[in-house]
Symmetry: C2
Subunit: 225 residues, 2 copies
DNA sequence: TCCGAATGAATGAATCATCATTCGTTTCAG
DNA sequence: CTGAAACGAATGATGATTCATTCATTCGGA
């Protein structure tokens, strides 16, 4: 069940007419970057291959030397984004002994990568559905791996007695959506605060108690229903 | 600054070649419903006018009697969805005296409408960017109104001493994203639990304390930077 | 009451523009 | 020189939009 152990997924089945591995990598990176920019700005369907070619400074034909079709480009573009999350988070969270600090660092890292790739993140949301099912599943898988990083931090905090024994799955999704919201609701948050502030304010809300003691008492009967 | 006081936004500037208001309403509803279904399933760009016509049981030409172009159809489709939220939430939250109960009811209502319109909700996320700026802004405005409903509930709970004086804006977005997540991550949650359970588990995580007393003590120095 | 305009809805084949993709030609490194 | 790499004009498909036509009414005058 375990899949490839973390090689920046590279080609993932996309075929190229050029042999030279190094050249393929270079060209693909060049083209995918242009594509991310264009897809992010205009959306997948609205951007043409020739847009991408122009942006990347190559000819239309060249793109077809390195990709089978337009969907391949989208696929590698989205993969690129998700891989960058999967790379950044663990490296930033590091291995500080304190689980609470690791958790905080992970959330900060997650939000910072997203901040650095707002358009690309939104792209992943908007266009994943345009991919064939196999590929969509691969993307889900990636996302799942990212979630697992966060879940592990939470679970460590619980084991260390720093978090209550809450619903790990739900809290994980809470955090993930919180991070994604920075991109999805950029129009609302941008300008109002920095990513750093956003994370700090968010964590304060998520980790501390919202209900007052009286609120708790009143809530008890509600839940029993 | 205040905009139209809640008339199910109806036409919002979309022009029709037919005069009869009642007929226009009927036909548009018919076409928009078909469109929501198709756009939701296949996405905006991938569905053709003729798809929609077929689904709605009318001719291609007819659609152009009631809409200026394809974008008009998308616009009214998204508007329809957001309006349904704006309608359902207050009517379900009712006016129960207890603010906590109203809050709970509002969140449940929000999630239930979304559950009833998963495809449509995802549609709004995916395709809002395909609209012209003016229209995109109108959509944002709608979303803002919905958020305000939730924010009001929260603020009532605080005033009643049931919630701590937390960051209203952030908690509101927390809740909103939580509700949207039910649609955006449907593939993950569906089958695992019902909407009702989802909301209850979610509220438990959001409202109660996550940090243990010891966690709080350790966290203090962290926040001080 | 009845009949031939006149109006406005509805149709769907034809038009027209826009791309994705191909492929014959050109470049250039070795 | 030779072959791989790059180019970009030409091709073909697709799909939004138009429009000439049909169909169903309403209406006014005899």
């Amino acid at each position: 069940m375990a899949v490839n152990p973390r090689t920046r997924t590279a080609s993932a089945g996309v075929k190229s007419k050029v042999e030279d591995r190094a050249l393929v990598d270079r060209r693909r990176r060049q083209i995918v970057n242009a594509a991310i920019e264009r897809f992010g700005k205009r959306g997948y369907h609205a951007t043409t291959i020739s847009d991408i070619a122009q942006r990347a400074g190559v000819s239309v034909g060249l793109i077809y030397q390195y990709f089978g079709d337009k969907e391949d480009v989208l696929f590698l573009a989205i993969l690129e984004v998700l891989d960058s999350y999967l790379e950044q988070i663990p490296s930033s969270a590091g291995s500080s002994g304190d689980p609470l600090e690791r958790f905080r660092a992970a959330v900060h890292a997650y939000c910072r990568v997203i901040d650095a790739n707002v358009d690309a993140t939104v792209l992943a949301y908007r266009e994943t559905k345009s991919l064939r099912k196999v590929r969509r599943n691969l993307i889900k898988q990636k996302e799942h791996e990212t979630n697992a990083l966060i879940a592990a931090c939470i679970s460590d905090c619980i084991r260390a007695g720093l978090f209550e024994k809450i619903d790990i799955e739900l809290l994980t999704y809470q955090i993930v959506m919180f991070a994604h919201a920075w991109a999805l609701k950029a129009w609302h948050f941008r300008g109002k605060m920095s990513v750093g502030q956003y994370v700090d304010r968010g964590l304060a809300v998520m980790l501390n108690r919202v209900l007052t003691p009286r609120g708790q008492r009143e809530r008890a009967p509600l839940r029993a229903r």
